[in-house]
């Protein structure tokens, strides 16, 4: 195990000292020295995730596909672009640069007021005694927050305008998880970072939680015909469970997408009455021609189009004027 760690940190140190450190040093950015080193690890973890998806998860999709290969396969390409941009840190870096000052300002302001966030270890000291328990507790809390954020994405018109991009994919695969508008990514990231700070997630833990969580979420989008069994389907979100959330609504199932919101643990849907389980195979997508038109567009066109949708949802007056033209 130690050899593996040495190999990993050796590669990380080499990449950092060869590619990143000279730039930070040359341009007087040494305050970003430690974050820069962490960013290299983030990218390396992204490469690992891409490998797991491309080799491991794709094996299952090829071997046991739910939807057979067909005309719509070309729609998957743009989702691969999303995955690369996210996993290799391009979008997360932009979001980090944008949100870091705000997160700092919020923390500084809160502390200046003399308010101390109720760190979880203060309430439950035993949590800090076991790294695995600590990780699991924070993972569950993180997922709980992500569940409610996801419900928010479906509840508010302006947020749905952004999130509908994620749902518009008619050919859902392991690459679909990262298909999101950058503003949606920014809102979710900011909310989860603040939540994590509030409950006391350690930066190192946050990266692991993010990686494990996102891998499970990638898998939950997989185009595979596979069940986790009765109990398994209630312990961990499966592709079958999450596919119901992406199901195309019909006159008889108008609100089917308002179910199975949980990113990792279905318990939230069970507790809050939003869980559904059945074996029926349904097509995915959104029953709205405007949203469905996202299919076939490239990354830039999708981002621009969805931004327009977002503005119109946010400013109805602008929407009416736009409609009149």
């Amino acid at each position: 195990m130690r050899d593996l760690i040495d190999l990993w940190v050796g590669a990380q140190a080499w990449l950092f000292e060869t590619l990143v450190s000279p730039i930070l040093f040359k341009y007087g950015l040494m305050a970003w020295y430690e974050p820069g080193y962490s960013a290299v690890e983030f990218v390396m973890l992204g490469v690992v995730q891409i490998a797991v998806i491309a080799i491991g998860m794709r094996f299952f999709e090829r071997r046991w596909p739910l939807e057979k290969a067909g005309e719509d396969d070309k729609l998957i390409m743009v989702d691969r672009v999303y995955t690369m941009l996210n996993k290799l840190g391009v979008i997360p870096l932009a979001i980090f640069i944008l949100t870091y000052p705000l997160v700092q300002e919020i923390e500084l302001t809160v502390r200046t007021w003399g308010y101390m966030p109720p760190r979880l270890e203060r309430l439950l000291p035993w949590i800090g005694d076991n790294a695995l328990v600590s990780f699991l507790v924070y993972f569950v809390l993180y997922d709980f927050a992500a569940y409610w954020l996801h419900r928010g994405q479906h509840a508010f018109g302006w947020w749905w305008a952004l999130h509908s991009l994620h749902h518009s994919q008619r050919r859902m695969t392991v690459w679909t998880d990262d298909r999101n508008h950058v503003i949606d990514d920014l809102i979710i990231t900011l909310a989860l970072v603040l939540f994590s700070q509030f409950v006391g997630v350690q930066p190192g833990e946050y990266v692991v939680i993010l990686m494990v969580g996102r891998l499970i979420e990638s898998w939950s989008h997989a185009n595979v015909d596979m069940s986790f069994g009765w109990l398994g389907e209630r312990l961990l979100v499966s592709p079958r469970f999450h596919r119901l959330h992406h199901a195309l609504s019909t006159p008889t199932e108008r609100h089917i997408q308002d179910h199975n919101f949980a990113p990792v643990f279905p318990i939230w849907d069970i507790l809050f009455g939003t869980a559904i389980y059945d074996e029926k195979i349904r097509p995915t997508g959104v029953d709205d021609a405007t949203v469905d038109a996202d299919n076939g567009r490239g990354w830039i066109a999708q981002q621009a189009t969805v931004f327009g949708r977002f503005v119109r949802a946010l400013l109805p007056r602008f929407s009416r004027r736009a409609s009149a033209q």
Binding site: V9, A13, F25, G28, M30, A31, Y33, R111, G128, D129
Partner: protein, 335 residues
């Protein structure tokens, strides 16, 4: 079993009674833990949880406790210097990144790196005397021998600031170079050395007014000091270059030795016999051991993620109440 008793049990079981003075504490800043290493076997004997984002640690003025600054939980965690057992938690110390006691033991000062303030406490009871908000990432601190002034590097703004301890008033705040970090007062009490992490050199600063008197090229990313213990020589870690320099400060400072330490060398401490320098390698998750006589890397011990502060548990004979104290992992005994 709580963490206090677990720490004590781990130490007593693994380290063994007579070997406790043989231990070294390493703070793994990114995994909220500290490692206990054995000097004699050069192995990690225990890894225990501690707060959140611990960076620096320091001996208390009475020599009985080691105080660990847990930055994200705003508290100090105290370990018994003899047994390693946890003694107490001192709460409401905001973002205690770098920390130090004045030489007379009356003042305790912290640099809140992320929150941009310097806090001056009465060491007795840790009652806040003054909080000074100052822009630019307050990074490391040092004191004058009279315990009247504390000096703080401001890493982001490239400045060095001096504060009067009794009144908490700013005495001066001057530019010294790119990304100043480690700062140390020399035994003559007339020269401050400041390491410039954004450059490849250190500067000599007049503590009276902050005037930069001279500079000395050392290595890229000059970062942190540690005294050799002879009142004359100081070790300096150069993080970007990956070296540790040995600096002779007798007259005009000059580099008299260097050793390659890969992986972003940072904080240092010396074994009680003065033969080995232990250096945290932030990026490699290791602690390097340097043979001081020949200035050669002779070992490296795996620890946790992003190891930062290092502290040698010395025999109590070396630690007496009222003895001069130091800022965390930076300035050694003022002789």
């Amino acid at each position: 079993m709580n963490r206090l008793s677990f720490a004590a049990l781990a130490l007593s079981l693994v380290v063994g009674g007579t070997a406790r003075a043989d231990s070294v504490i390493i703070l793994n800043s990114e995994e909220a833990s500290y490692s206990i290493l054995s000097r004699s076997t050069r192995t990690e004997v225990a890894r225990l949880p501690v707060g959140r984002e611990p960076h620096h640690l320091i001996l208390s003025p009475d020599g009985k406790e080691v105080l660990i600054g847990s930055t994200a939980t705003n508290e100090l965690l105290s370990l018994d210097v003899k047994t390693g057992e946890r003694k107490r938690v001192i709460k409401d110390i905001l973002d205690p990144y770098h920390l130090g006691f004045s030489p007379d033991g009356k003042w305790f000062v912290t640099a809140a790196y992320r929150l941009d303030h310097v806090d001056i406490y009465h060491a007795d009871g840790f009652k806040l005397a003054g909080r000074i908000f100052i822009d630019g990432l307050p990074s490391h601190i040092a004191f004058d021998a009279e315990s009247k002034t504390v000096f703080v590097t401001l890493q982001q703004s490239g400045r060095l600031a001096a504060f009067d301890l009794a009144t908490q008033a700013l005495k001066w705040n001057v530019p010294v170079g790119n990304a100043p970090a480690g700062v140390v007062m020399l035994p003559d009490n007339k020269r401050l050395l400041v390491a410039l992490t954004g450059e490849d050199n250190i500067v000599v600063v007049d503590p009276k007014d902050g005037a930069v008197k001279s500079s000395l090229q050392t290595g890229k990313g000059a970062h942190n000091f540690f005294p050799k213990g002879d009142g004359r020589h100081y070790f300096l870690s150069n993080r970007v270059e990956g070296t540790v320099s040995l600096i002779d400060t007798k007259d005009e400072p000059k580099v008299v030795g260097s050793v390659r330490i890969p992986g972003g060398p940072d904080c240092m401490d010396i074994t009680p016999d003065g033969r080995e320098l232990w250096v945290t390698q932030r990026f490699l998750r290791r602690v390097a051991i340097v043979d001081i006589d020949i200035m050669k890397l002779v070992g490296s011990i795996p620890v946790g993620k992003s190891p930062h502060g290092v502290f040698m548990m010395k025999s109590t004979a070396n630690v007496t109440a009222g003895a001069p104290v130091r800022a965390a992992s930076t300035a050694g005994e003022i002789k």
